[in-house]
């Protein structure tokens, strides 16, 4: 099993550009999450999904959009990139929040710079 796969690993965007960060998991997990990690700030939740067709906002959703059309995929969309979105983005998944409370499986991260 590949686990949680994120692409791309690195990306540089110009201000105002758009892009989609891809995340896929092959563990049949129903919960998926997007976090961003800023230096010295820990991980902050952007969006999460409890199953296909269901998404919800996290702590810092502004400037991002998500969709969950399948169990496996949970892409994160940046519509108008801003320097404040320079960060490392992590996708994660878990089986169910109840059965595996807090046991998240993380991707390797996407390092995004907006210049």
């Amino acid at each position: 099993n590949a686990g949680v796969t994120q692409t791309p690993k690195f990306r540089i965007l110009k201000i105002g550009q758009s892009m989609t960060l891809q995340c896929a998991q092959d563990m049949n997990h129903n919960y998926m999450y997007w976090y961003r990690q800023d230096p010295g700030m820990g991980l902050k939740l952007i969006y999460y999904s409890v199953g296909a067709g269901i998404t919800d906002k996290g702590e810092v959703p502004n400037g991002y959009n998500v969709s969950r059309s399948t169990t496996e995929d949970f892409p994160l969309r940046l519509e108008l990139a801003a320097p404040s979105q320079t960060s490392v983005y992590f996708c994660a998944s878990s089986y169910t929040r109840e059965a595996g409370v807090g046991k998240l499986f993380f991707g390797s991260g996407t390092q995004l710079s907006v210049l």
Binding site: Y35, G40, L43, K44, R97, V101, G102, L104
Partner: protein, 108 residues
């Protein structure tokens, strides 16, 4: 509001010395508590969870509900313990809330 406080950004200890990474939380209800670790060039991964009462890589953590703390301890630090450590509570219907993390540096 849910909040996690890890007061030390950086903790440096000598190899063989005891180490304690502090975590205090403010959370409604009775959350589960977790420690996650990120080694250099590796993915963030679960280290241990309080409900399992386990010891992983020599680390233990005791949940103190009175002090709302979940400090991570190891009696003898090793160089391979150098990493970023995150405390995280989870409960109710909300996803994990991560602390800002503590970077542990074990000096040979």
């Amino acid at each position: 509001a849910q909040r996690v406080t890890q007061p030390e950004k950086l903790l440096s200890v000598f190899k063989g010395a005891p180490v304690e990474l502090k975590c205090n939380y403010s959370y409604s209800g009775s959350p589960e508590l977790f420690w996650y670790v990120q080694y250099s060039r590796q993915r963030l991964q679960l280290l241990l969870r309080h409900i399992s009462r386990e010891s992983i890589k020599g680390f233990t953590a005791d949940l103190n509900k009175g002090e709302t703390s979940f400090h991570l301890k190891k009696p003898f630090a090793q160089e391979e313990d150098s990493a970023m450590y995150y405390c995280a509570p989870a409960g109710g219907n909300t996803p994990l809330v991560f602390g800002k993390g503590t970077r542990l540096s074990v000096i040979a």
